[in-house]
């Protein structure tokens, strides 16, 4: 080919200066934008240690409030459950089902129906 880049076309002086002006404007705008972003970032930078301290506080509180599950705590729980069950039985035996007497529908129910 006589000219390697036959499709190239030199921009006119007018177009060249127009594109250069637009480019300079765009570069300045971009620079201003990045400066604003940086300033905004600095404005809120002081919040970072504060947020960190708040998170640490929340975590510490949560950590301390959490009950540790150990063998002895499980044993305590079982003992408590047994005691509660015993009290229930005691209440049932003493009550003699008196509270059922007022209920007509349950008139026919006898002690045998309750296998206490």
């Amino acid at each position: 080919m006589s000219d390697k880049n036959w499709f190239e076309e030199k921009p006119t002086d007018g177009l060249s200066s127009q594109i250069q002006r637009a480019a300079e404007h765009e570069l300045e705008r971009r620079g201003r934008l990045s400066q604003t972003e940086r300033r905004r970032l600095l404005d809120f930078a002081w919040l970072t240690p504060l947020a960190f301290a708040a998170l640490a506080g929340i975590w510490f509180t949560w950590r301390n409030d959490k009950t540790e599950t150990t063998d002895s705590s499980i044993a305590d729980l079982e003992l408590l459950a047994i005691e509660v069950a015993d009290i229930d039985l005691l209440v049932d035996a003493d009550s003699d089902y008196e509270f059922f007497d007022d209920l007509d529908v349950l008139e026919e129910i006898t002690d045998e129906d309750f296998n206490v």
């Binding site: 080919m1 006589s2 000219d3 880049n5 036959w6 499709f7 190239e8 076309e9 030199k10 921009p11 177009l15 060249s16 127009q18 594109i19 250069q20 637009a22 480019a23 300079e24 765009e26 570069l27 300045e28 971009r30 620079g31 934008l33 990045s34 400066q35």
Partner: protein, 197 residues
Amino acid sequence: MHRHRDSEIQALGDDALMKLLADESPEGLTTAKTAFRILFERHGGLVLGYCTRIVGDKALAEDTAQDVWMKVIKSAKQYEARAQLRPWLLTLTRNTSLNALRDRRDWSELDTEEAGDDSHASTLKLLLDKSESNQIRIALQQLPAPQRTALSLFLIEELSYEEIAQAMALKLSTIKTHIHRGRLALIATLSESGGRK
């Protein structure tokens, strides 16, 4: 001192210039402006010429070229040095030009008759080798928009039929038709002008 700095930047390669252009700090503004000026001096002709080949219309090509250069600034950060500037710039120019054409809805008469064979490819290459760049430009300019665009992508960027179909969002058979017809028309025009010489 400023002049000396300019000449230093002038000596840099495209990749280094793109790096300077990507610098958004206030300190790098002057350097970025110089880098842009040098890049534009080096590749302004390539971008405008390619835009003209694709869109056809001079005014639209100039607007598109300006869009391309603005995109170069905006995407300088994304540019990877290993990609090489020229193909990257050609792809950016092609996509921007095709978008400009689409916005204008330039192609309406798209017929899909089967394309002929590629036997005219070598004839065209021979004619392109012999012809003056101005003759080729004029011949290409005379083609209808879709033929000119498809043929430009084929000849300038050496894209495959499939890639052109994808870029122009047209059927493969339509692209083949456009390229086939474009080639015939270009051969006819170039042979005629060659014979007149």
